[in-house]
Amino acid sequence: MTAGGWLEIGLFLAILTALTPVVGGYLARVFGGEVAFLGFAERPLYRLMGVDPEHGQDWRGYARSVLIFSAGSFLLLYAILRTQGLQPGGPGAPPPNLSFNTAVSFVTNTNWQYYAGETTMTALTQMAGLAVQNFASAAVGIAVVIAVIRGLVARSGRELGVFFVDAARAILYVLLPLSLLLAAFFVTQGVAQSTHLPVASQEAIKLLGTNGGGFFNVNSAFPFENPTWLSNFVQMLAILAIPAGLTATYGRMAGNRRQGWAVFAAMLSLFVVAVAALYAAESATTPAMHAAGVVGPNMEGKEQRFGIASSALYAAVTTAASCGAVNAAMESLSGLGGAVPMAQMMTGEVIFGGVGSGLYGMLLFVLLAVFVAGLMVGRTPELLGKKIEAREIKLTVLATIAVPLVVLFSSAVAIATKHGRASISASGPQGFSETLYAYVSQGNNNGSAFAGYTGFLQPHGTNRGAVGLDLANYLGGAAMLAGRFLPIVLVLAIAGALAGKRVSPAGPGTLRTDTPTFVVMLVAVVLIVALLTFVPALLLGPVVQGLSGRLF
């Protein structure tokens, strides 16, 4: 650890905090309808789509639109992948199992990649297939969280907004303009942008949309994706800008900015612990290095231009957000260093999390925290003046346990079956860590990997004769689908139940949700509910490695 490293981390946190109200304020104005400079493009688009921006959908209608749009996205992307063989000069079509996993992966904002982009996909597929879903899936996440916030604050009516309008506005006013700016900046830094390598344009939305799917197999470690220290620093900010900003959007839409800052503070405090732990862990010499007589920080699988600090910070950022872009090999992190990304994902990706999904995930924990606190002091739980009743709590509990169950179940299947073990490349506890990481990452829609875990083999360096492993691709795909759409439907149902509930004025007995006490409560609930579920699994893999000097 160096003073310069800590300074970089401090600077990053300071800029992120400063950006939060700026981004969040802008988002609030976009979804409040106050920003309309692209109205000339919006109106004909809505007419073509046949939607009426003035006619809001209830939660069922909203959820239905999300599911139909996502199903259509999947079909389109799957078709593009399976017909890639028709594109001249390309590597041929990827096999059905890999195409399924990949299409699901991009539609669910996961961007888990069993394949290497440079030998599996054409530039056209990356541009017009994969990167389109980087925008679309991010827009879905933003739209859903905006609908949820509307439900939480609505004082009358059951309408949550119009999904297609929200998604279109998320793209037109937020994702596309920011991508243009960011891609232009990346080009000045040396990120490639040509007919064969349309990298910068894809890089921008890969980060802003917390997608994480790299143009190249080694993702943001490859110099053409991330050439300089500065490009790397900006990449990390781009990952967290919208997830963090949305907390401020929440505060503004709730009419009390402190509500947003309270959620931000809970996220930030968990994040700071994670970054510090990762940086400390990577600064130590690993058992394998000791065995070879090498002394120094763990530079295995890291790039020199980033060093330990920028690599550790990137690993923390990308797994706090459900981004999954990486600038170093996650599999080569030290034992305890590898436990940190897993632990962050295991919270359900609520430490900033994915665009939209992070905040609606955290709002579920806010409901749980309010409920637990209400039980402790013997009062009816309330959020923003609305009573939280049996239906909401049942749905909240369902939503918070659904993903951990999916993750644990798929990890167990993968580790216990011959077909699952075929994917493992490492020996000893690392083999277990690879498997656990794979399903934690896919179930929570992160997409980063202990990349030794294999689902696709290319013996000839093209898709001709390439083989996908069935269990890894289909089980992973199912985990991604469940991890994405169960929470979306449940959280929209909660928003629907809360929309239009009477708001009672705050009294002296009201449990306030915008105080430091509540932040502590919220952090405790996240740790107890989310993380305790996974402690035994964490102990079996990365913690064993971190505490042992043994080689396997």
């Binding site: 297609f164 080009v187 470690a221 394998a288 699988g301 030290s334 490492a426 202990f450 396997f552």
Partner: protein, 167 residues
């Protein structure tokens, strides 16, 4: 249904084609060299009398790129590191007598993430400077000065440095 179809079509045309192609056009006009992907950003095997890049899991190949993907407690990683240490000592000890495994900068023996990391640490470059100076018959002070000129954020670009040495 209709809304989803229109939305997907619009997204594919605007975000999948217009946006990246417009970016490509602009990038090729404004930064023609950089936008094609600069060769100086990619490490390649170097002649023995020049600075050497970090070890690569793919042998500096990029079709495809790949991580080394060995964990911190893997026997295989320890074996790889030992081999890299031996190779580094064999190469540098003639010009840096007394060099030991513990004194080798870590970047010199660990695999980079990309497999084509163009950078090495300043400490690594200063050790290699002795060999380069000796084999190329250059004054050591001049090679060391070149190393220091090329340091940026703790990293020295091997391609840039070697080009400077060759001049």
């Amino acid at each position: 249904m209709r809304a989803a179809v229109v939305m997907l079509l619009a997204c594919t045309l605007v975000l999948g084609l217009a946006y990246p192609l417009a970016m490509t056009g602009a990038a090729q006009l404004a930064y023609p060299a950089k936008a094609d992907g600069e060769a100086r950003l990619i490490a390649r095997p170097q002649p023995r009398d020049l600075f050497q890049p970090r070890p690569s899991a793919t042998g500096y190949a990029t079709d495809p790129t790949a991580f080394n993907n060995l964990g911190p407690n893997q026997r295989d990683l320890a074996a790889q590191l030992r081999k890299a240490v031996r190779a580094y000592l064999r190469r540098e000890r003639p010009s840096t007598p007394g060099l030991t495994a513990a004194r080798i900068p870590v970047d010199a023996v660990t695999s980079s993430a990309s497999g084509v990391d163009p950078d090495i640490s300043e400490a690594n470059a200063l050790i290699q400077a002795r060999r380069v100076a000796k084999l190329r018959g250059l004054p050591l002070g001049r090679v060391q000065a070149l190393v220091r000129e090329h340091v940026s954020h703790g990293a020295v670009n091997v391609n840039d440095l070697n080009r400077a040495v060759r001049r």
